[in-house]
């Protein structure tokens, strides 16, 4: 098997003197969903930020399609084909839904109306509310705006930081369905999730992190079946 499409290998680093990540490895293939789960403070979001270039790495490297991208800034990584949806502040609340998508496509010089149609097709509710300020939408709809915004650059990798934080279980299921649809278009998806069980259910690959280290790495199915993982991290 060839090297994964996106991989952060042996990442070690932190914001100050102390390291938060210790030789942590994450990877994802095109069209796959990879989920990072683990207890609070395990460094899940930090690991994802490291892949996106928002955390200085002391050791390890990040490769996208076999090219080392350690030296790229987050903005440059967006241009290289990575989309990132932060956990909070991921929409422009005072801009309309349509303007949010336009801003997502800001770096594109070509005509992006086709991509916008695709996003509207994927999230029909956004087409309906295109002229409304994003701040007036519900939590679940906002997350769709956020994902739609990130899709506007036609990324090859989409990284989601807790996309279902603060939404109801029904909306969470809807969002996971949408994420499956996005992955089906051939985009690699790497996401951090609190709702470990549900997330591993849709995941091709799962990473269980504890204290900045990889604890278990396997397919979503295998992790769900593993008694130790179930007992320690999935509440039995």
């Amino acid at each position: 098997m060839s090297a994964p499409y996106l991989i952060g290998e042996g990442m070690t680093g932190g914001y100050g003197a102390a390291d938060i990540l210790h030789s942590c490895t994450l990877s994802v293939e095109k069209g796959e969903i990879a989920v990072i789960v683990g207890p609070n403070g395990a460094g899940k979001s930090t690991a994802m930020k490291a892949v996106f270039g928002m955390l200085p790495l002391r050791e390890g490297e990040v490769r996208l399609g076999n090219e080392v991208i350690n030296s790229l800034t987050p903005q440059e990584r967006v241009r290289a084909g990575m989309g990132f949806v932060p956990q909070t502040g991921n929409v422009f609340t005072s801009l309309t839904v349509r303007e949010n998508l336009e801003m997502g496509a800001f770096i594109r010089e070509d005509d992006f109306s086709e991509t916008m149609d695709l996003v509207f097709e994927l999230f029909p509710i956004l087409a309906e509310k295109a002229a409304q300020p994003a701040g007036e939408l519900s939590g679940g709809q906002r997350q769709q705006v956020a994902v739609g915004r990130a899709l506007m650059t036609k990324p090859s990798v989409l990284m989601l930081d807790e996309p279902t934080a603060g939404v109801s279980p029904i909306v969470m299921d809807e969002l996971f369905d949408k994420i499956l649809e996005v992955a089906a278009t051939g985009i690699a998806i790497l996401m951090v999730e609190q709702n470990a069980k549900q997330a591993l259910n849709i995941a091709d690959k799962g990473f269980v992190m504890v204290q900045g280290r990889n604890r278990f790495t396997d397919t979503g199915e295998a992790l769900l079946a593993d008694p130790e993982v179930r007992r320690s991290f999935l509440g039995g």
């Binding site: 987050p74 903005q75 929409v91 422009f92 609340t93 005072s94 801009l95 801003m103 800001f106």
Partner: protein, 336 residues
């Protein structure tokens, strides 16, 4: 009936028309303040003196044009000189941004540091203006003085009271309207305008979307300086140009921006007119007005609520009341 009409004409002549012109000038000034606040996130105390600087550039070039025998016919020559004034103010703003504000931006300094830095910039611009053009009163309005004269109006309508409309008043309102429409069109329709709003709304997400912060800052200064110059020139045309009055205008302008909701352009416009009409109505002498309305009543006093010397107290009181009751302003402020 005639008495009521006379009262209305009197009111229009001394309150409504001057208030509308003054309100337009304040609104343009407040728009600049609000734009800087929304994008650069600080209260720019140098805005009043930037208005003076822009107006000074316009006046200097007006003199050049007049010296060369070029006038705008019935319109003030200053309108022709306006682009040069704007250019001067833009260049000055960009110089101060490069030399002062950029340093603090790189340090991610707290807003209060920017505010104090802007006070320093204010004193510098203030000094430049006084050195170049002096501290005296300058009248630079030429062209037709009146569109309707009070006497003509009286002869036309047969009323005892006249309604005068000075050309500078009409020009002020028309120019302000055009500028406001253009600004809203830019902010809501153009790619750069939307990027400015996005940057103002959520800086981190704007960076993530590939919006170049340097360009946003550049456009903001260009627009703010243009607005300041236009507001300053219109104010000078309507009244007269005196550097000190622009420093004093800072209070009503900030009151307008804050009352409307700082960071919100709609609010800045609404606030501008609100402050202007409050000032004019509170300091107006109502004696004659009520003599017309209530026949047979001869008031002893002048029926003036507040003497004109206290007109700045009006902005101040409104400002304090709004901050106590509704700190976000009439229209929710903070982002553009």
């Amino acid at each position: 009936m005639t008495d009521t009409l006379n009262a209305l004409v009197l009111f229009a002549n001394f309150v409504f028309v001057p208030g509308l012109a003054y309100g337009s000038q304040l609104a343009l000034g407040a728009l600049g303040v609000t734009l800087i606040y929304a994008v650069l996130r600080f209260s720019n105390f140098a805005h009043g003196d930037l208005m003076a600087f822009g107006a000074m550039g316009t006046i200097l070039f007006t003199w050049v044009l007049q010296g060369a025998g070029i006038t705008a016919g019935p319109l003030p020559t200053a309108l022709l000189a306006l682009p040069v004034g704007i250019l001067g103010a833009v260049i000055l703003s960009l110089i101060f941004d490069r030399t002062v504000y950029r340093f603090y931006r790189a340090q991610r300094a707290p807003p209060v540091v920017f505010v104090i830095a802007s006070v320093g910039v204010m004193f510098m611009i203030n000094g430049i203006v006084r050195l170049v053009i002096g501290v005296g009163d300058i009248r630079f309005a030429d062209g037709g003085r009146f569109i309707i004269r009070a006497r003509e109006f009286r002869e036309m309508t047969g009323l005892a009271e006249g309604l005068a409309l000075r050309s500078t008043q009409l020009i002020t309102v028309v120019v302000a309207l055009v500028v406001m429409v253009a600004l809203f069109y830019f902010l809501n329709r153009s790619r750069m305008g939307k990027a400015m709003r996005a940057y103002s709304d959520n800086e981190d997400l704007a960076l993530l979307s590939g919006i170049n912060p340097d360009r946003v800052v550049l456009y903001t200064w260009i627009i703010a300086a243009a607005l300041a110059t236009i507001a300053g020139t219109l104010y000078g045309l309507d009244k007269s140009f005196k550097p000190f009055t622009y420093f004093q205008l800072l209070l009503p302008i900030f009151a307008a921006a804050i009352v409307g909701g700082i960071g919100n352009p709609f609010g800045a416009i609404a606030g501008g007119y609100l402050i202007a009409f409050s000032e004019v109505t509170v300091t107006y002498l109502y004696r004659k007005f009520f003599t017309y309305l209530i026949p047979g009543w001869e008031p002893e006093g002048l029926l003036q609520l507040l003497s004109t010397e206290y007109k700045f107290a009006v902005s101040f009181v409104i400002l304090v009341v709004v901050l106590l009751i509704r700190p976000t302003g009439l229209f929710r402020g903070k982002t553009i």
